[in-house]
Structure formats: structure tokens, C-alpha cells
Amino acid sequence: MRPTPRRLVAMAAAGGLLAVAACSSPATPDASAAGDTFVVATAGEPETLNPVLNYGVDGASLIFDGLVSRDGQNRLVPGLAAELPTVSPDGRTVTAKLRDGVQFHDGSPLTSADVVFTYRTVLDPKVDSTLRSDLEMLESVEAPDASTVVFRLRYAYAPFLQRLTLGVVPAKALTGQDVNKAEFNRRPVGTGPYQVESWTPGDRLVLTANDRYFAGKPTNRRLVVAFVADDNIRAQRMRAGEFDAAELAPKLASGFDSVAGYRVERVPTADYRGVMLPMGNPVTADPAIRRALNLAVDRTAMVNGVLGGAGEPGYGPVPPSSEFVEPAVAGKPTADPAAATALLDGAGWIPGAGGTRVRDGRPARFTLMYPASDSLRKELALAVTADAKKIGIEITPEGLTWDAIDPRLNTDPLIMGYGTPYDPDFVSYKLFGSRFAGQGYFNPGHYTSTVVDQALQEGRDQADPGRRKAAYSTFQKQLATDVPWVYLTYLKHTYVLRDSIDGVTPRVEAHEHDVANSLWWNIHTWTRR
């Protein structure tokens, strides 16, 4: 019998590799036998480990702590501050008292000078920090004594305490240096539960326990973060038993549901996907078209089909987990083509040749852009296209790079994604405020509404939680009426981990999550059974 080519190759390869394998080291140590080392795998690798340059700012960097941090419910709790900072009655002065006896990894004590240095560095225009935009309201930061920090704001900003999760860096290590190029960015010194042992770019980051950690010694001694960009490889190496936990795409993760020794965590998020409908397009500028699309999309089908069950229907920019969510804006999770067509009929969009509706000679037709490299957004774009066709709206999906998308944002709809669980002001103020119309990714669709502008401003100005809630309720109801975006889904981030691990406490995640702010935000307290 003639061997088939493929079998021959397989045999030759197996023979060759067997020969080489036999003379290499006999065994690699079993990861589970390493005991108190935890190994997690992520797709992305940080560019820097300096919080000032936007590393792990939202309170889970594992290497640094902010004045405040977040608990399992994302509620603010004191971090380096002894208690939650106090806000003056006019909302423009915020005072924080530092916890006693906190030390950096190198043993030097934390003082208010370090906190002042950290915030001033972010504000320094010479520093390449994208966080400066988040601290626009910050006028000055002072240290009247070694354990007190006083922030003065240009205007009252209700969610300011949420911004104090920024990790504090030691002034001593960075003073007089070019912060953008400092060695510190690769070998940082913080106060967090872990300190950096080594970072092999492109390969892994190794952290070791900080026994001086003010909240108690970490229960495990070492943490290895392996950088594995390819989704399939991450899944295969997880299956080969190399990792304790890894982030995987929903469909790859669900493959582990039935594998003994593993469990899948589907973590709720504030990470939404929706269709941005610009006012500069004559078809999508018509409220009837926008509302009809909002009724015609089948969100349940998208969650089950596109997301493989790892998500939930979305109706607005405030996530269901938020205390500010307005339940009244939630619509039907399934499509309602009857209501959608009735709406279009009433607005004068008459079915034309080929099934596409027409009004005043203009067909109900537009292009829907999505970033071509993002397969999830592509599938959502296709689902919206199919749903729209059923009510006579003709959509042409188009996959593009961001650079090709940018100049067309004013006229062409786009599948967008973002979201934060922390405060509705963070993203929505710029995304829907008319002042920001057409400024890059801020309000690209030129949405303008005085009701929304006022509500967003009130949510920012008012410190009283009740009044804030009322303001954001108004905001969400107005969005539901105007439909500047058709919100589709909130994602669930999916992780696979060994089921012998205890202490895993998922919390609602933001759009961004990687080495920090992932399922392992509190990995220093995890234990193995």
C-alpha cells in the first residue's frame, strides 16, 4: 500500500520529533504541583506598568493602590486613604487622609507627597498620559502635611472620588526623570499585593507577593501572567493544563463546560455594543427609521447566536448592574416587526420595488460600518442587516479599518462598543453632549438634545444621589425616545479556570480589561483546594 502524502509527513515528523524529544529534558514541572504559584493567561500585554501612563487605573492593578479602591460590588472602599475622602459642601474641595504605616515595595514609607506627585505628573503636559482628560476638573493638589492630600476642583464634579482609584507611585523613584521613558515603567515600585519580579516582553510578567501589603499578606506567593495573543492557542494551552485561569472568547470557553477539572465564569459587564446612527445621514436622521430599527432588532437572537449566550440584551448606555439604570427604557428583547412596520408606514416610508421602503423618492438604505478585524462586531452588523431587511430597510455592512471609519463617522452608521460600570458620567457626558458633537469619537453622530445636555450636566453637578438618579433617569428616557444609538447587547466576559480554585469573586467589568481589572482582580486572596 502506498502511504498517503499526509500520513507520510506525519510519520516522518513524529519520528524526527520523537528522536529530538528523547534527548531533551525528561519532564517539565506540573503547574498544579507548583502549589502557591498562580498562572493566568491574557491576550493583551501592557505597554507600561506605570499607573500615571494609564496602567490599571480602575482599582485592580495588583501592583499599585489608589487612595480608594473597589470591592466585589464595585463600591468605593478606602485604599491608601484611611477612610473615604471628604467632599466640601460646594463640591470643589476633596480631602483625603492617608492610612498609617503603608510602605512601598522597596520599604520606603508612603506620604502625601507621593500622592501629590502622582496627580501632578498626570496633569503635566510633558507626560504622555491619556488620563489627563479624565482629570480636567482638577485644578490643584496639595499636601498640607505628610498624611493629608487636598484636591481643589475647577467645578463641582460629583463622581470625583471614582477618579481616585489611580495607583500612587513613589515620588522618589521618578522625580527628575522623563516619566515617559523611565525604567520605572517596566520595573515599577508600588504598594500593592504583588511586586514585579520580571517582565519578559512578549512572553510573561512574573509577580511575587508583597509581605508588607497593608491589607495582609497575599495567600499565594507568585503570580505569572502569560501573554498569549492567539485565542485558539490560549484555549489549547489551557486544555493542556498550563494555566489556572485564562480569558477566552465565549465559543471557545463553552468548550470547557463539559471538561472535568475546569469551570467557566461568565462575568457580567458594562461593555455594550450598539449601532450609532448619525444625524448627518438623511435616512438615519429620521426618528421613524431610528425607532423602527430599535423595534426590529432581535436582541435575544443576537445574545444566543452571536454571543453564544454570553451576554444580555442592551437598551441604553447605563448597564443593568448600575444603581443609575432606568428600568423603564428596557424594551422587548425579541424583534417586533409589526410595530416597526406600522411606525414606518405612519411616517410615509412606503414599500418600493425590491422590498426597500421609499419616501419622497429616497430609498431607506444606508451603509453600516464595523471594524473589519472585530469578528463580533461583524456578526452583529450582519444580524442588524438581516433584521432591518424584514421591515424594508436596506443595509450594506462594510468592514473597514478605524482609519477608514474615522472620516465617515458623521454620515455613516457604525457598530460601536464601550461602557463603564463605575459612573454614568464617565462615558455618556462626552458621547451624548451636544458640545462634543463631531469631536472625534465623542458624539460622532452629532446628536443634540437640550434635555439630555441638561440632565448630563445635572448628573455631574449634583452630589445628592437622589437628584443624580433622577437626572440620569431623564437622560435615559430621552435617549430611548430619540434613539441616537440602537443599543444591542451587553457582553459577558468569559473566563475558564481550574475548578479547584477558591475565592474567585467576579465583579462587573468595564470595556477594558486585561492584566488588571479582570476576573483576577483579587487573585492575592485566591486559594487552591
Binding site: 507520510l8 524526527g16 514541572p29 507600561t48 519578559t200 512572553d203 492567539d230 498550563e242 469631536q439
Partner: protein, 346 residues
């Protein structure tokens, strides 16, 4: 350029020169190649910058990532100003070349460390991967190709050629995934990726070697068909040469005829083939590095390209160009050393 005669022709001209004199013109050739290499490198770097300038990618937005949604235009403009990426292209280029001449490769905006340290940390692994794969390919293709030619038309020859064509049609990343599925998951013999065991505290050579078997194997298998088929055809041809037939007629054993006579004749153009095939090998290495999560130049090059990181891209491109030019020169010198009919001082 050196002259590359068809090796299957005219072996009746006896080798009159000795090896020492064959390389007599080497110095001139090296000088002449350098005179070409410098303009080539300059042109390559200018091309790099021009292509980069034509790309609409905003490096500051790339740097901001998802924060681009919350970062103000002033904030991004300030970062661009800090980096000098809005300066006119000639200004950027002259600044870059000035730094280069002072031994400073510049600052990588996508990795946020000096270009020199990015390359220093990663080039070694890529070089190791490529050279080990090349060595495996050379040994395997010479051996298998010669054997197939010796029994031309036989079972082994037909099987080998079919296998070569089959492998040629398989993309490298597919081969990588298949190799992982078989050797890492099903058989459990080898790790599926990474440079060392994930929990290892140091980089020991045995650990690295163990982790590199699969990537090197996959890269070698994916690049082998070209070489195998070439050797097989060249040896098959030279087996019909007069001097080989004569050697056979003298009653020399088959192995001596095959490896001592036929393969030696066929070997010469093979040297040039290696030189010209090197860029493809590097391209394959980039994919293999990505699949096996190895910290080589592959992933970082992609990142640099996506982030309009001129300094890093320019340095990597220059490095690759220089390696290819050097390899071609080495191939030609080797050719001259091996083939008596080739004169360097033409």
C-alpha cells in the same frame, strides 16, 4: 555579479584553480556589495518613512486604545507634540538618521522602550528559530532529496514528492495548530507554546530547547518542500552527467556516487537558493512565533506596523534587509569557493 553556470553542463572543464585563488577577488566583491548595500539601506529606510506617512493611522490614538473614546483632542495633540510625530516627514527622517549615526535607534512609540532594547530582547529568539529551522531544512532536504533522486520514480520518490506538494499547500499557521493538536494535546509530548515552562523561575537551555522543538519543527517542515524538490531534481539531473556515469562505470559504490559526485554537483546552485529563500523563512518565523507565543520580532513588528511606530519599523526593516544582503553575499562567496568555474574577479 558572479557568474552562475548551469551545474548540469560541462563538468569536463577540469578544476584548474586551487581554492585559495578562487577567493582572490573576494575583497573587491565585498567592497562592491557594500557600495550597493548602503544606498539600498538608505532607500529602504526612506521608503519606510514614506509608507508610514502615507498611512492614515494616528499613533496617538493607537496609543490611547479604548481611552481614545474619553481622551480629548488637546490631550492627544499634546502627546503627538511630545513625540514629534506631526513634524514634516523630512524633519522626522533627518532626526532619525542623525540619532542612528550616533548609535541611537530611537524610541519605540508602540512598545514604550528604546528600539535598541526591543530588538536586543527579541532578535536573538528569532535568529535562533530561523537558524535552527534552516539547519534542519538543509540536512533533511539534502538527505531526502538525494535518496529520492537515486531511486527516481520509486515508492519513496513518489511519496516524498506528493508529501512536498501537500505541505507546500498548507499554511504555516495551520501546520502549527495541527502540530499542537497532535504533539501537545493528543500525545502530550511537547508544550503547546511559550519560551519556557510558565512557572519556571529561570530560563534554562533544556527548558527552552524543549519548548522550541515544535516551532522549529513546524517552520522546518513548512519550508522544506521547496528545498527537497530542488535537491531531488538537481541530483536526478546530475546523476545523468558524464562524470557521474563515469564514476558509476568505474564501479564505485552507489553511496559514494550519490553523495560524493552527484550531490556535490547539485549543491552549488543550492547555496544561492538558501540566500534568496531567507526572506520567506523570516516571514514564516513571524507566523510561527505568533502561534507559539514566542517573544521574537514577529508580534512586535505587527504591533509597530499597526501603531505607525516608524523608529521600530525602520530599525527592524533595516536589520532584515541587512541580514538578507549579507546572506546573499555569503551565498555568492560560498558558491565561488565551491565552484572552480566561478571567478569573483570577473
Amino acid at each position: 555579479m558572479t557568474e552562475r553556470p548551469n551545474p548540469t553542463q560541462a563538468s569536463e572543464h577540469p578544476a584548474t584553480n586551487r581554492r585559495r585563488s578562487r577567493l582572490a577577488g573576494a575583497g573587491t566583491v565585498v567592497r562592491r556589495r557594500l557600495a550597493v548595500a548602503v544606498p539600498v539601506l538608505v532607500a529602504t529606510s526612506i521608503g519606510m518613512f514614506a509608507l508610514g506617512a502615507a498611512s492614515p493611522v494616528d499613533p496617538a490614538k493607537q496609543y490611547a486604545g479604548a481611552a481614545a473614546f474619553t481622551t480629548t483632542e488637546e490631550n492627544l495633540a499634546q502627546i503627538r507634540a511630545n513625540w514629534g510625530v506631526d513634524d514634516p516627514l523630512p524633519v522626522q527622517y533627518l532626526r532619525w538618521i542623525g540619532n542612528l549615526l550616533r548609535g541611537d535607534l530611537g524610541w519605540s512609540t508602540s512598545r514604550h522602550e528604546p528600539v535598541a532594547s526591543v530588538i536586543a530582547a527579541r532578535a536573538g529568539w528569532t535568529l535562533l528559530l530561523v537558524s535552527a529551522a534552516l539547519a534542519v531544512v538543509l540536512v533533511a532536504s539534502l538527505l531526502l532529496g538525494a535518496l529520492a533522486a537515486y531511486r527516481r520514480g520509486g515508492l519513496f520518490d513518489r511519496g516524498l514528492r506528493a508529501a512536498a506538494y501537500a505541505v507546500e499547500s498548507m499554511p504555516v499557521f495551520w501546520l502549527s495548530l495541527a502540530a499542537i493538536a497532535v504533539f501537545a494535546l493528543a500525545l502530550g509530548w511537547l508544550p503547546a507554546g511559550g519560551l519556557t515552562d510558565v512557572t519556571a523561575t529561570s530560563t534554562s537551555w533544556t527548558d527552552v530547547a524543549h519548548h522550541l522543538i515544535l516551532p522549529i519543527g513546524v517552520l522546518a517542515v513548512s519550508q522544506a518542500p521547496w528545498f527537497v524538490l530542488f535537491v531531488r531534481d538537481a541530483v536526478a539531473d546530475s546523476l545523468r552527467d558524464d562524470h557521474v556515469l563515469a564514476a558509476r562505470a568505474r564501479g564505485l559504490p552507489g553511496r559514494t556516487v550519490l553523495f560524493g559526485h552527484a550531490l556535490r554537483t547539485a549543491l552549488l546552485p543550492f547555496l544561492t537558493l538558501i540566500g534568496t529563500h531567507l526572506p520567506e523563512l523570516v516571514g514564516g518565523a513571524v507566523l510561527v512565533e505568533t502561534v507559539f507565543s514566542l517573544p521574537g520580532l514577529g508580534a512586535v513588528t505587527v504591533q509597530a506596523a499597526l501603531g505607525s511606530d516608524f523608529p521600530l519599523l525602520a530599525a527592524i526593516t533595516l536589520l532584515t534587509t541587512a541580514v538578507v544582503l549579507t546572506a546573499n553575499l555569503a551565498a555568492d562567496l560560498g558558491y565561488a569557493a565551491a565552484d572552480p568555474r566561478v571567478r569573483l574577479n570577473d
